[in-house]
Amino acid sequence: MIDIAFTLNGTPCTVAAPPFAPLSDTLRERLGLTGTKEGCNAGDCGACTVLVDGAQACACLIPSAQAQGAEVQTVEATQGEVGAVLARLRAAFLAHGAAQCGICSPGMLMAATDLLLRNAAPDRAAVRDALGGVLCRCTGYAKVLDAVLDAAPQAAPAPEAGKAVGAGIARLDGVAKLDGTDRFGADEAPADALWLRVVRSPHASARFTLGDLEAARREWRLDAILTADDVPGLNAFGIMPALKDQPVLSDGLVRFRGEAVLGLVGTREAVMAVRDSALPITWHPLPALHGTAEASAAEAPQLHAHAPGNLLIEGKLNRGTPARDIANAEGRFTTAFVEHAYIEPEAGYAQPAPDGLGMEVFACTQAPYMDREETARVLGVAEELVRIRPSACGGGFGGKLDVSVQPLLAVAASKLNRPIRIVYSRAESMASTTKRHPASITARMSADAEGRFTSYEFDADFNTGAYASWGATVANRVPVHAGGPYRIPNLRNRARAIYTNDTPAGAFRGFGVPQAAIATESLVDDLAEQLGLDRWEIRRRNAIGRGDTTHSGQVLHASAGLPECLDALKPEWEAMLARVAAHNATSPRERLGAGIACMWYGCGNTSMSNPSRMKLTLSRDGTLTLFNGAVDIGQGSTTVMAQICADALGLPLQNFRFVLGDTSRTYDAGKTSASRQTFVSGRAAMETGLALRRRILALANAGEDAVLALEGTQLRVGAARVIDLATLDADLEAEGRYDPPTTALDENGQGTPYATYGFAAQIALVSVDTALGVTRVKRIVAAQDVGRAVNPTLVLGQIHGGIAQGLGLALMEEFIPGRTENLHDYLIPTAGDVPEIAVHLIEDPEPEGPYGAKGVGEPALVPTAPAILSAIRHATGVTMRQVPVLPHRLWEQMR
């Protein structure tokens, strides 16, 4: 520990800190400036970007000793030139929707400040260069670049009462994301919290025995070493109601590299000082099954007693009888594990409730009520005794639907009866939490002479890894969607989820549908080629629309705007084809290509009840509060729910206060997943607003179209009536609930699995350096039927971000357990990789949805990768059936 004197945000400061501790750690843990985020501690993500002597730097790469005498500026800076630049940037980020989850925003802001201090009027290329070192997983960067380039940002005007839906207002939770005050999982903990560090298996498959842990505990000055025996309730968790197959702490057999074995509890210094190799763990490595082929081989060992043949589940869809036709296409396709790569690693704390019975968990999550259920089971207590308080969530994308830190923290806090905190390292987050399922797909598709699709067959193995997680969804969501958004009378779809000794695969934006779309859209291109049809044309001829019947036998009565999406893209498609032809005529090496793909996506859980419930109160003191249990993971549900509820009630947004996602204060609004929040919780928010409006109107005996206005405790109802809320006997309170109408799927996968579907089409322009196999995406145009864009700014943000993730899936992302457990070996797109994006919003209203709205988040990702593959094929003549299309893979196929 040394004393380090420097200037911090314009003020002299002296701090005692270890000289080798990263400056980011000293800022956060010793100076309390948690606005500087740690996403990787390796200089890979830039979330910790600060200014040191006026130049941007990763605070995680700077030894605190080097701060001596330096001038350090962080996102908390308010003074001087830096403060002025930051103020302007904050306003621009808000106006442009440049912050979604907000975890990268401090880094983005500081990198942009560095640029603007040197160059007050940069061009887009200069901004890209300046921000190239900060990774963002939400926005697709376009809005961030727009914001930095906007020298005079204009905030959208506050919509008047009844006009909130459709307004592209700034996100209501945006200010805290831009001034460093939002509290993510690692940003808050009781001062007396001990730390938990998890010792994880370095082996993919092994048995282990434990020696004298008490001696080790004393030697390392720990407060406790937790084992499976310390789990007070059931030592198991998992998404499937009847299959809790993953232990909180392993009881002697580990099934993947990264599985939790021991929990070390003590001071931070103590738990971080322990060498795993010095602990009394004796490993007995076993052969490991990597990939579905090894795991489904006849001689493969069985990984779970309940899963003969290592088959977790199989799902089917049968309709008609597939047969060959005039044109027939077939292919085998493989996709990789994909990492969510949210910039916030899992973090949080747990503390026993003062009553000695309950447990409170503060952590990043997408599913507070499921966390509560899982945590209570592990503790062996009633669910009501567990309170989940979601932190700000620094990106989720499906990866924070499963519990991670929650049961571990609760077990430790319960055992030691004091607050316990944890922050996963990047490697730990990547090694131990779920991934997108790698898929191995064989598919066939046939069309008649007019290009009408007549048959489709799909057979796929999905690697669900060591534990089930969301693997069961492979069996229902995938077969329903595999054939794509086309009229196809005959289908035979099979999808299996297979256990292996790989990292567990779970939910990831689009769940299995992006993998299937890669196969299907490639076959559509094959059929077009065989029949001499344009790729847009064949899709338009087969596009499913209003009145058509889906592959599961559901008639689409409304909100089926795929034909309109394709029509919106037609002029740009033709222009793109012309541009490609003109360019390629004179450019043998750098080839352009245009590609196209479509998608559909059912909003909400598949054939399952997934209700949301909300509450709205108007207190006698005039406070109007929406109790909203939907977790905003950056997509903007907090803002969208408010817009919907405000219009339903008929009061302006400024009147609202919010209580958000806290299992002890809000009702269950379900998970933030399956593109369901705007659709399902949004409808509940609408019903809630309408219910309170009905109460008010009844109280005032006013007509249905009465205009409301709230000033203090005076609630004006129509022109003539005023209710003084202070005189009421009780606060006004109303609730709303919605559960989308679905039916179970029969043994042939027939039924009504979703109440509504999102539809989209995208076209992509790529250039391929045919000598090096390097693909650059130059332009993407998306058309998406969103029902109704409740907040167009947020909707665009979802589409941009989905496209960026789809680009990563197509071109660079491949998680390899044990090999790419960091953000320099595992690549996600940077500000330099995402192309210009144009979006057509198609609004074919969904009668079930609030004001016609339906889900947006996942649909945006699905068509991107197949559109890029289609474009690569157009550029090179090579059909890529394996993603990611790394340069050497494309090069090999071109040889």
């Binding site: 990763c58 900060v134 390292s425 490697a427 340069p887 090999e892």
Partner: protein, 280 residues
């Protein structure tokens, strides 16, 4: 517990270096990621650290009788912003492709070389610049060519008691530097392969001097003497046509997560032709 030394006098630094096995830290951009990676899998131990960032007089690029001296604390950003002749264009191009600006502002060229990664972005161009390494210890000073300094995969000729004080780049009349890097994304990417070169021509446009190096295609980046010899006397405009597969006989690319060996070998040829295509 890791001891941390941050001396302000060179003789103190050399005494520490002579007295203990320490990790030398300048920009820290290699040391912290390596430490993070080890700690993530349960090894929090670290060598004692000798932080040389407070040593005076090592942040300058100065002109000398023979050429230029680049102090061991010179960062990539300093290089990008320095007024230097076209000889250094390749080095500047490499500097712009190392990490993001955050890393360029802290990381040093010398550190990149001492880490001696096969994919070190600064190494091929240092080979092409015929740079030499100024080394000092309590035993005295010595100069070693970069090619001799790099002895293998992440190993160097630096003794445990020595520090690299500076790099020396000799003049080359009319010399023009270039650099090409290939990676799977735009920013923040580890090279799949890279080429660097320095070429000088006479008044008739014929190549009088050619120094070409290839990185990430063998355990240590290397010069390509056969190609260099073949380029001498060739018209600059014809240079790309000189490159042939047999010029790459000495390289030994590997299969890894970023690319296959066969691809690297072929890509190296393309990158070399692209490098020689470049004009200034």
């Amino acid at each position: 517990m890791t001891a941390y030394h941050r001396p302000t006098r060179l003789e103190d630094a050399l005494a520490i270096r002579a007295g203990a096995d320490v990790a030398v830290l300048a920009g820290g951009t290699d040391i912290f990621p390596a430490r993070t990676a080890r700690a993530a899998w349960g090894d929090p131990t670290h060598k004692d650290v000798l932080d040389i960032s407070a040593l005076p007089g090592l942040r300058e690029i100065s002109e000398t009788d023979e050429g230029w001296r680049i102090g061991c604390l010179v960062t990539w950003s300093t290089l990008i912003g320095a007024a230097l002749p076209p000889l250094f264009d390749g080095l500047k191009a490499a500097a712009r492709e190392v990490g993001g600006r955050q890393v360029q502002n802290r990381a040093t060229l010398v550190g990149n070389m001492v880490t001696a990664s096969p994919a070190g972005d600064g190494i091929p161009i240092l080979l092409a610049l015929d740079a030499s390494v100024e080394i000092i210890s309590r035993r005295g000073a010595r100069r070693v060519a970069v090619a001799e300094f790099l002895t293998g995969y992440r190993t160097t000729a630096l003794a445990a008691d020595e520090l690299v004080l500076a790099l020396h780049v000799p003049r080359l009349h009319g010399g023009q530097g270039g650099f090409r890097k290939l990676g799977a994304r735009h920013y923040l990417v580890i090279s799949i392969a890279m080429t660097a070169g320095v070429i000088a021509t006479d008044s008739a446009g014929r190549i009088t001097s050619a120094r070409i190096a290839l990185g990430a295609c063998s355990a240590v980046a290397q010069r390509l003497p056969a190609l260099e010899a073949a380029l001498i006397g060739v018209a600059r405009a014809q240079a790309t046509q000189v490159v042939q597969p047999h010029h790459l006989q000495s390289i030994s690319p590997i299969d890894d997560i970023r690319a296959s060996a066969a691809y690297r070998r072929d890509a190296a040829l393309v990158l070399l032709r692209d490098l020689l295509e470049a004009r200034a």
